[in-house]
Amino acid sequence: MIADILISACLVIAGVFGLVGSYGLLKLPDLMTRLHAPTKASTLGVGGVLLASMGHAAFKRGDISWHELLITLFLFLTAPITANFIAKAHIARNLTTKDLPPTGGPRDWATLDMSEEPVTPSLTEPPQAGRPS
């Protein structure tokens, strides 16, 4: 009975978080805020579903399955990387240097910086003349 309540609570919480994540994708005003909804809420929603699935397998069928942990780990690792790439694509396409806060260094934001000169002090030895780097 307690297992039933736990699994059902996990499912309901996961459903609410998944719905909030997808609704936030439509509701929030611009892309940088819209990034928050799927990467946080939906990841939590899927995490809840996978927890419920693990509980279901353990308490109802009596076999512990580790596939869900694998999926959870993979999703939790990849969601921030995807969000970072989408933010970089957004910066490159839709924003200029004036829209972003100053970097505080000699170089501009990495996505927008088109200059060819090396950073001083340089992190690597400068290439020698006549040799392709």
Partner: protein, 89 residues
């Protein structure tokens, strides 16, 4: 009770899938579309796992795992193409 909660979760993620589909079709910019496709993948993974729970079979986790991997790779490839005009430089 678990059956009721399963129906609730199914409907929540189904409505979420429809909302992301709306955002894919009517999106203000291309990064938005990538984000919506990524959210769609996450919702579909949840639906596959829920279906596996309902059927009581462990077969569907491999499908969900494959979906997670291909979804990640395709989102990153799409974003990289938008960012640089090339995928592998």
């Amino acid at each position: 009770m678990i059956a009721l909660a399963l129906v609730f979760a199914f409907s929540c993620f189904g409505i979420g899938l429809l909302l992301t589909l709306w955002r894919v079709v009517f999106s203000p910019s291309i990064p938005d579309r990538i984000l919506a496709l990524d959210t769609m993948v996450v919702n579909v993974i949840a639906l596959i796992v829920l279906y596996g729970m309902e059927r009581g079979s462990g077969l569907y986790f491999e499908a969900a795992l494959l979906f997670a991997m291909t979804g990640f790779v395709s989102s990153v490839a799409y974003a990289k193409f938008i960012l640089r005009g090339d995928i592998i430089e």
